[in-house]
């Protein structure tokens, strides 16, 4: 079936990547500077991650990463299948094409998201590296 067996595994993998991103000396400040609240709605499994670069972040991080539902008012909401998200974080998915194909839906000012694209490039290397670290080699896409 899908890449992640449940929401917990998705939070461990993609959520973990986001937390690494929040500590990352390059990506962190750039995302922080956007001051956006971005919600990611996943299906199969159902899950939700929020990047909050508006409110003060915890010590040692440039932004907040929140698992599950919350009452924050998102600037942009991205909805997609969890498998699509997984593929995206390997850099294997053209965001523009994915949006056009309806593989992802974006609610809110897309321009704001596209502006972040160049900043998050390091994540494409970080993700497989991180998966290896946490013993999830089986999820690494060739």
């Amino acid at each position: 079936m899908g890449v992640f067996k449940d929401a917990a595994e998705l939070y461990e993998c993609i959520g973990g990547l986001f937390r690494r991103g929040a500590e990352h000396p390059e990506m962190g400040p750039k995302i922080r500077a956007s001051k956006l609240i971005i919600k990611f709605q996943y299906t199969n499994p159902e899950a939700q991650l929020t990047i909050d670069a508006k409110n003060p972040p915890p010590e040692g991080m440039y932004f907040n990463v929140i698992e599950g539902e919350n009452d924050l008012q998102a600037d942009v909401t991205m909805s997609m299948e969890a498998d699509v998200a997984h593929k995206f974080w390997f850099g294997k998915l053209n965001l523009v094409m994915a949006l056009n194909r309806g593989m992802m839906r974006a609610k809110g000012p897309i321009a704001a998201i596209l502006k972040l694209l160049p900043s998050i490039k390091p994540a494409y290397e970080l993700y497989p590296q991180y998966l290896r670290e946490i013993g999830k080699e089986d999820k690494i896409m060739g």
Partner: protein
């Protein structure tokens, strides 16, 4: 080599022909009450009447004409138009105008159907259901908006250009009739025509291009080569018809293939220094072509052959002289962009959506070089 993913549709039914607006009632059989979206200038020129009179003669009620759309439409205009529309009973919206009018009608259609504020409808894939029937009758041969699923509306508060994209935004019917461009001033004919050419060129070179969009983009290029000069100078019906059809072909192509770095820079010039979109495209297109030719020489050659010249190099020259012959400025310095503003333009262009489908990766530094050359 075919791309590994091909995607195409043209939801809009397009009909075109000289005098066709007089037959709109035939195309709208079954519709009884239409609401027209337009602008004051078009009302004054009698172009709105070209559409409404035959409709009324055929027994279709024109329940209202909302003619408050400015050249670059804004969120508040859309919300006012939606209020105007809600207060009337109609079964089809008819947009008579250029890109701003058609995009406004798309946005009004969306606000009325969803009951939401326009600002809450930004995004991609936000609409789940079809909207009301929308007919688009272009009065410029440039934006292609009559066949696209995109709308751009300015947020006057933040000066941001908001983008709306959904298959449901595409008009149901586009009616192309050269009578509607009979009063187009030569400069506007030239700048909108260069916009159409830029759509064709950038769609053809886009990383999202495919055989469907290629075919339409090349045909648009061919028709523009044949009709541009006459449509600007002699303004005869045949050449205006050719430009309108070319503009729709290019619209159908870039609707799917999207555009590239020229548009990214033109958007930034428009946003920061109010340079009209077609003028900015005309100035920047040769430089964008030059830049992209490094990675797409064969494709630029192919565009040249469609244009009727021998290769890509000649094509770039032809594009430059076309704009000049159209009486358009050829330098950014002539259109109010200060040299010290180029960096900001480059920064904005580097994160514009359009740059992501440019065939050659174009960062702010690359774009700055292009802008300096075009200055």
């Amino acid at each position: 080599m075919l791309p590994s993913f091909v995607d195409f549709t043209m939801r809009t039914r397009l009909v075109a022909g000289p005098g066709l607006v007089r037959e709109l009632a035939t195309e709208l059989a079954g519709y009884e009450r239409v609401l027209v979206i337009s602008d004051a200038q078009l009302v004054k020129l009698g172009l709105v009447r070209e559409v409404t009179e035959p409709l009324e003669a055929a027994g279709v009620d024109v329940v209202g004409v909302f003619s408050d759309v400015p050249p670059n439409s804004e969120v508040e205009v859309v919300m006012a138009g939606a209020g105007f529309a809600r207060a009337r009973q109609y079964d089809a919206l008819v947009a008579v105008g250029g890109g701003s009018v058609i995009d406004t009608a798309k946005a009004i259609n969306m606000v009325v159907a969803t009951g939401q504020h326009l600002l809450d409808l930004q995004g991609l894939g936000v609409l789940d259901e079809p909207l009301g029937t929308l007919v688009a009758i272009p009065t410029t041969a440039g934006t292609g908006s009559e066949v696209t699923s995109h709308a751009v509306i300015k947020d006057a508060g933040t000066s941001a250009k908001l983008t709306f994209t959904s298959p449901h935004l595409a008009p149901d019917l586009a009616v192309i009739d050269p009578v509607m461009t009979r009063d187009l001033p030569p400069k506007l004919a030239a700048s909108t025509g260069m916009d159409a050419l830029t759509h064709a060129v950038e769609a053809y070179l886009s990383t999202n291009a495919n055989p469907f969009t290629d075919a339409l983009a090349l045909e648009a290029t061919r028709l523009i080569a044949q009709n541009f000069r006459r449509a600007v100078r002699e303004r005869d019906e045949e050449s205006r018809y050719g430009m309108l059809v070319a503009s729709s072909l290019a619209g159908a192509a870039f609707n799917v293939a999207l555009v590239g770095c020229v548009h990214a820079m033109a958007h930034a010039c428009g946003g920061l220094y109010d340079v009209p979109h077609g003028v900015a495209n005309a100035i920047l297109l040769p430089w964008g072509l030059e830049f992209n030719r490094e990675v797409a020489a064969e494709r630029v050659d192919e565009l040249g052959r469609a244009f009727g010249v021998e290769d890509g190099r000649q094509f770039i020259e032809a594009v430059s002289s076309l704009a000049a012959e159209g009486g358009l400025p050829t330098r950014l310095s002539e259109v109010g962009v200060p040299r010290e503003g180029l960096e900001a333009v480059a920064e904005a262009a580097a994160v514009d959506g359009a740059v992501f489908t440019n065939p050659r990766e174009a960062g702010a530094e690359d774009l700055l070089k292009l802008l300096e050359r075009a200055f």
